[in-house]
Symmetry: C2
Amino acid sequence: MAAVPESHRATLADVAREAGVAISTASVVFSGKTKVSDSTRERVLAAAADLGYTGPDPMAASLRRGRSGIIAVVLEGQLRAAFLDPATIPMMDGLTDGIASLGAGLLLLRDEPGEGGVSPLTTAPVDAAVLVGCSGRTRASLEVLRSRGLPVVVIEGDAGEGIPQITLDNREAAAELARHVRALGHTDVVSVTLPPDSLRERGEVTQERLAAATVEVTVDRLSGVRSVYPGARAVSAAASSIDEGLIAGRALLADEVNRPTAVLAQSDLLAVGVIRAAEELGLRVPEDLSVAGFDGVRVDGIGDHVLTTMVQPAEEKGRAAGEQVARMLRGETPTSLHLTCRFRAGTTTAPIA
Amino acid sequence: MAAVPESHRATLADVAREAGVAISTASVVFSGKTKVSDSTRERVLAAAADLGYTGPDPMAASLRRGRSGIIAVVLEGQLRAAFLDPATIPMMDGLTDGIASLGAGLLLLRDEPGEGGVSPLTTAPVDAAVLVGCSGRTRASLEVLRSRGLPVVVIEGDAGEGIPQITLDNREAAAELARHVRALGHTDVVSVTLPPDSLRERGEVTQERLAAATVEVTVDRLSGVRSVYPGARAVSAAASSIDEGLIAGRALLADEVNRPTAVLAQSDLLAVGVIRAAEELGLRVPEDLSVAGFDGVRVDGIGDHVLTTMVQPAEEKGRAAGEQVARMLRGETPTSLHLTCRFRAGTTTAPIA
DNA sequence: TTGTATGCGTTATCAG
DNA sequence: CTGATAACGCATACAA
């Protein structure tokens, strides 16, 4: 094998010349789209090896076929923010599977304009895009993508006309959980919610605040709870994390007089935090306090508890999005999907004493 | 704005014709590489808006420029496996920063061959690649990338000749932590390690097992501990998680007779698990047991403890890799970097009683 | 089965 | 400041 000349990488033309065949023939040897005699193939492959040719140039191939083999995943803000949600990773794994039939890769994009002021969304060679949690700026990203004529799928976000989206039955699922708790006899229930808006302030979720809320999932899940417990009290955390749940839990449970008998947390992480707050205060879960979560992701550090929760099909969410992308790329019409969460009985809720 | 014809997206040629200018002129209006009179620019922009032209086609531009604006991040196995390590996300954020000057995006690739048997590594239109945790199959990926003539940077992995790599002073950092503990008077110390190999079995780290270990970081950190505490006992966890630390901690601390006075965990997550195990058994940290971690990432759910640990420059790791990539792309010679961890005194270690 | 001819949509060079 | 022109490297329809 000859050394690779840094100056000029070998091209198909070089290989063809070396092998004494036409460029198209050499091309076909690599794409496999047409039969080629064994002898020719070998000659071509030998020439390729000799020249250090490792296959068609991806950029040239992309231009020619009109496909780059890359799907964009558009997340809000910093990566670390997006990955704070434990459902994100399984979702991405599902997405990877969903687009596996395309042999495509995932391009991680933030929805912020980059250095030069131009968003990578405008300049990235992608075949399609998946928007995750479409709110605020993401809405603008959608416009850009659409105007480029790219297939777009939205996961859990307000997409608008004619854009396939993957949604969760957040409201109904929250209601189911609430009914479970009601069936256990609880009447004094508080909801610990995700941040309702980008302000991310802790505290009571008032009417005003709810009216101005921008995070759909927060609103939906709370609405589900209140369909069972009208007017139920709700306090919001500043983020979805164990520590935030702990803070909310401490505030909630410290007041012995108005202490609820059950807490419905809008995420498993928050629920774990609440449980920990309860334990700190000497309350037993579920004997003294029932706690339910939401998401059904594997939470590290929960120890022996099994959280009562609604399991969301996180991986399925990604896979579905990927499949719709694949369909659109094949020219088929995509469909929106509404996925449902599944109730999981755990050890953290019990009949009221 | 005219409707976008699905049949044929407008091209620069269309815009130029509509605006009555040469293609090259229209091109410069978008690239800004040359002065253009205001009047011409406006005509071109107007024509573009009219035709629904949103800018140069990325694939064509890529081919022409020889740059796709995409950097590959090659991770081992499933995404969820890679993201189990809490240092991964800050690392990715750093990487994003590091390549910001390139205006490039990150393409997530697994190092497994895809559907058709051909790895995306061969066909993805990327300008460079960052390999994370180079072991086993990743080693083969390196070959592929190199033969394509792409710049490659390796983060925490065995890269081989002439490939710039970003490494951590795992051994020395572990030793520093051990010295801290020794200075506190502890003589009975156990190390809870990361998995030494892909078997991921829990249990005593024997001589044989250590000799057959494949995970460099595990070996290095243990070696650092043993440079201070020769022959110190070590038990391995099956993964880096709180729950695994809990399991290891229970096993370690249950035996009252041989109970160590200090535990050096190879990750913060493991350390938190050990602390929890101690608390379960009624041991106070740090009064009855000192526990130190490694990584210095923010661990959710740790409550009020501040872990004594070595803070690894996770974000810096990514940034450094990104910067080296940027350098190589600019034709400059890259350099390998050896980053050092910083000791952070917390509330989980104390002088021996 | 193999070769011929086009053009995918740009950008860079250079002349006007 | 603007325009003509030549690649960039390949994949396909079609002819042989």
